[in-house]
Symmetry: C2
Subunit: 473 residues, 2 copies
Amino acid sequence: MLNPVSDAFKSELQAALPGTAFREVTEAYLTEPRGRYHGRAGLIVAPETVEEVALVVRAANRHHVPVVPYGGGTGLVGGQVAPDLPDPVLLSMARMARVREVLAAENVLIAEGGAILAEVQAAAEAEDRLFPLSYGSEGSARIGAALAVNSGGLNVLRYGSARDLCLGIEAVLPTGEILHGLKRLRKDNTGYDLRHLLIGSEGTLGIITAAALKLSPRPAETGTALIEVASPEAALEVLQRARGLCNETLSAFELISGQGPRFVAEAGVPARLVLEPVPDWMVLIEVGTAADGAPGEVLERLYGGALEDGLVGDGVIARSEAQRAEIWRLREAIPEANRIIGSVASHDVSLPLGVIAEFMEGAEAALAIFGDVRINAFGHLGDGNLHYNVFPAAGKRREDYDGLRQAVTETVHDLVVGMGGSFSAEHGIGRMKVGELERYGDPAKLATMRAIKTALDPNGILNPGAVLRLEDG
Amino acid sequence: MLNPVSDAFKSELQAALPGTAFREVTEAYLTEPRGRYHGRAGLIVAPETVEEVALVVRAANRHHVPVVPYGGGTGLVGGQVAPDLPDPVLLSMARMARVREVLAAENVLIAEGGAILAEVQAAAEAEDRLFPLSYGSEGSARIGAALAVNSGGLNVLRYGSARDLCLGIEAVLPTGEILHGLKRLRKDNTGYDLRHLLIGSEGTLGIITAAALKLSPRPAETGTALIEVASPEAALEVLQRARGLCNETLSAFELISGQGPRFVAEAGVPARLVLEPVPDWMVLIEVGTAADGAPGEVLERLYGGALEDGLVGDGVIARSEAQRAEIWRLREAIPEANRIIGSVASHDVSLPLGVIAEFMEGAEAALAIFGDVRINAFGHLGDGNLHYNVFPAAGKRREDYDGLRQAVTETVHDLVVGMGGSFSAEHGIGRMKVGELERYGDPAKLATMRAIKTALDPNGILNPGAVLRLEDG
């Protein structure tokens, strides 16, 4: 049984924390990027230290007040806004935003949970190192939340997801105890890996207040290409060859459907289309090497061989930083165009690499029953991760399909899960996909998750209703 | 309250499983490599399918009979033998040893939990792929157990530990339920990561019956060098430079103390010493590149620069496969020699890279109070992981130090943990380091581990006494 923030609870916190810790409840805290949820808040508090976070959580646990951890507010599945709870306390990480230390010789960076992702990247770069986690919202996303949702993005192929970039964490557990695990060790086999349990738990098992992060050397030379491919299947063959030629120096391998650049043009998003006429399928390939790695030559060789074998057509290998930026600008413009066009339904799926081409054909055929739709499939092919988005036919609006959204999503997700894929590759469950997790999740996994949640958070105060359904009572 | 295997329990299993599933209780099952523990067994059963594993665990859970999972029997911390339990059922994975599938195009291999590590490597190699997990006992170690203890070895620097090589698992939970998580996805953010929780839990939260494993392209060219370094500090500087030059193509960076080769000679282990006279400190460096990567030239450049700066002395860069084998042979001979010489105490520690040199000095000074000892420190410097082993002075025997073992270990571990390191980098806790985990572990971590264990294994039947102390009652 959860209680809303009460005057007694407020007074208790106000007596214990400085006035600067409290924030006005504004709209910005209650909305999320896709506009599907509108949250509630009885109090917004932004602690400055892990002890203050622990104090808030302990009080909430005593009063059975729900705590919704709040990072950059950029999550896409409603994990950060709770419409259906007794007025919760929003715990903002905005005042724990420091990069504490860059240990360049160790390739380690220590950041507080509220540190902005772009600032973490910049702090690494200032010491000639790379923090490779990178995605669209990096200017607002906070590292503790990025870990909480195990975010992915553009460089996962080479460097892994957020969890792979984390050596240790400090966190506040649902009882308000502090987990001291801010180790900067590459190897540490001392008991259950609570770091990996908290990472990806979306703030339901703990609040990550600091993290030790893995840095990498910055590639000395970077090669980038945008190449027409004959089909998704040909793209997979080119991926194979690229892995063989480049191995770990392959940093990105993105599939782009022709629908993407066509939407960019239709929506008037400023970006060059690079390849014209726009091919039906393209791949964006990036290779980053040490000095003398000659990534441009590697891309030439890859392209030449694939051209001979009829796998690829038109192509551009960047000859300058400006050309390289142009190619990436096109990739980044696609989600912007998508938002303007307005999707019927969007899907963040992953599949075993071997069945992706088959999935593409199957999904298109299955979606035919919904009449005229446009499909924009793009994403991180190297990771088997596609953003498979369904749009209104030309001249129609998303509202024309309102009754169909659920059925479209079920069609796509049924097919994905049936082929051994995932209905949430990198965005998480949040509040949006709780039903999907129940529908598609392994029953033993769900039962185990519930048992862990109950054991660690007996009063159910931490981000209730995210990942696991809020139970009645 | 646990019960020993009873006649009723035996009869129940014998009625449900074919006769071929039962194994005679022999000494081999009750001993472990270091001879510290002698286990007990009321019954040894080797199921052939996940359903049979589940059947055994369900029966054990009903009868409150302890289950000790048994892989290759190679663990170094007593996780596989239980001297202090009511006669348990030993659950051998020897009959679930198949490599089910190699999906070369996906860089994925599916193996049963009992598959021998060397056979997994061979199956990958047969398809021109690399399964990089590699260590001394790979001819006996089984992959499910390797995951259960998150084993490390020689290639962690480049490819990660066992957990980093695993995409999905199938497992039997302590209640006998089957966790179906054999996914072969690079990205899957759908709920708590139970895979990472079970990996490293040393068979106390589940029995891993199958795994989807990540393969890599095999390096086309390999360069190997053994180089004298001025000091551990100089070794770290060379590591830095190697990372800058080679980045991810650096496969191994091993520190070798001169004591190692000297022990090899003293113990008469067949191996060339490679560098003579034996330097006080050496590093073994291996670089594996794609075709045209010229790893030999990279090593020449690294060596030349470091020589100019006085960081390194004598050195050999392998000019042939035979020379390469000779260098690795020396590395492998060191643990063999250690076993013959007989250590007073051995330690599998890790440290932040930045404090390793300081640790070496501090440990030698602190151990001086135990009088004349010889220290052989070697291991995976690139991972910050040292096998820091203390030996009798020349002419003395390990028995002469019997009363000191505990104090020596405490001295080393106190120093390691005080410097932010780990007292078990890659071997795990097992039964040997339960006390250390209680002494050095974060109290919130321990409490959380106990809560998880109780929630998932309410009768406490799965590998009781490993990782967490067996509770009375």
